[in-house]
């Protein structure tokens, strides 16, 4: 299949510039002016507020299976979270999750 080259380069350029402006926004404009306490309190939750929601549909309705829930993927996600909480290490959590994803289908047959 062929993509329209003008469209492709428009998407690459605008997405690149737009993403940079999003990243630069507060870091670039605000500088080191102190931020109010209520704002800082909300910012403590940025990672936990966005990333779980970003991946939840990918875990429950993975594209690789055409959107059907898959036991190995759900189990791998749960193991990743549990391992990360228990061991406080992203690397160990990734290894535990990957092991579950690859080994569980072998165990279940």
């Amino acid at each position: 299949m062929t993509l329209d080259r003008t469209e492709l380069w428009t998407v690459i350029a605008v997405l690149g510039v737009g993403t940079f402006l999003i990243r630069f926004s507060f870091l670039g404009l605000i500088g080191d002016r102190p931020l109010p306490e209520w704002l800082l309190r909300h910012l403590r939750y940025t990672s936990v507020a966005v990333l779980p929601g970003l991946v939840a549909p990918l875990v429950l309705w993975p594209q690789a299976t055409g959107g059907d829930p898959d036991a190995a993927r759900i189990a791998a996600a749960c193991v990743t979270i549990a391992a990360g909480i228990v061991w406080q290490s992203a690397l160990r959590a990734i290894l535990a999750g990957a092991a579950t994803l690859y080994l569980l289908p072998l165990v279940l047959g």
Binding site: L3, G18, R41, T46, S47, A49, V50, L54, L91
Partner: protein, 249 residues
């Protein structure tokens, strides 16, 4: 001259060792992410060339945008023949969370010269943010120079590998079988990033609201559901923190 001085100098005032330690510490703390950046970048290289992009076009994507989730989103939607404006709105919406990263790092890095802030904004990705935000939360007293060095250290094992892995995937990736399950590298990475932060009840509540909100609002067009869920989760975390603090007092 220094040997004759009787005045004790605090560690943080010594420029060179402080900044050196900052870079190394950042490099060490972000290094585990290389294990997921490599397959993730290679996956993008494979998927993009399979969609008909040249190696140069694929590399331009990864170098200019440097945001995996939005790159996959844009590529998928272009293949689905979505209009350019919809493609851009959706993939930029995926990246709006980075405005929050920008806000969160501003108190720590905002005093840096503007060209340094511009560069750090360019390499402000999920992994560098997660690494730096955790460090600055633990050691807010470190001087600006150390914080910048730490950030650059965290960038080192993430961004150059993103380019390299994309190139590897684009040039030799056709050999990777789809049954390898590489698609799940993304969810596992993000979950592994977040899980260690689930150490207080408000963090758990916030994550729960994020998940249930994103699933319940999955029907909202243009990834809007995720943005709404994220705002609700932010408020839920902050409010439950306040409530618990008042109850304890």
């Amino acid at each position: 001259m220094a040997s004759s001085s009787e005045t004790p100098v605090p560690d943080s005032a010594l420029p060179a060792p402080g900044s050196h330690r900052g870079f190394r510490a950042g490099l060490r703390d972000a290094a585990p992410f290389s294990l997921v950046i490599i397959p993730f970048g290679m996956l993008f290289g494979v998927v993009a060339t399979e969609a008909g992009l040249s190696v140069f076009e694929t590399m331009s994507f990864s170098v200019l945008v440097i945001a995996g989730a939005s790159q996959f989103t844009a590529l998928q939607m272009m293949q689905d023949q979505a209009p350019v404006l919809i493609v851009l709105a959706t993939s930029l919406a995926v990246n709006l969370r980075m405005a929050m990263y920008s806000v969160a790092l501003a108190p720590h890095l905002g005093a840096a010269p503007v060209w340094q802030r511009a560069f750090m904004a360019y390499v402000l990705v999920d992994q560098t943010f997660a690494t730096a935000a955790l460090e600055y939360e633990r050691r807010p007293e470190k001087p600006l120079r150390t914080k910048i060095a730490y950030f650059m250290g965290a960038v080192a094992p993430v961004c150059p590998l993103w380019y390299g892995a994309t190139l590897a995937g684009a040039t030799l990736g056709q050999a990777i079988p789809p049954s390898f399950g590489l698609d799940f590298a993304v969810p596992i990475t993000f979950l592994a990033l977040v899980a260690p932060a689930l150490r207080t009840l408000p963090h758990v509540i916030s994550a729960f609201v994020s998940i249930t909100g994103a699933l319940a609002l999955a029907w909202v067009p243009f990834s809007g559901g995720l943005l709404i869920a994220a705002v609700l989760a932010l408020v839920a975390g902050a409010q439950s923190e306040l409530w618990l603090a008042r109850r304890a007092a």
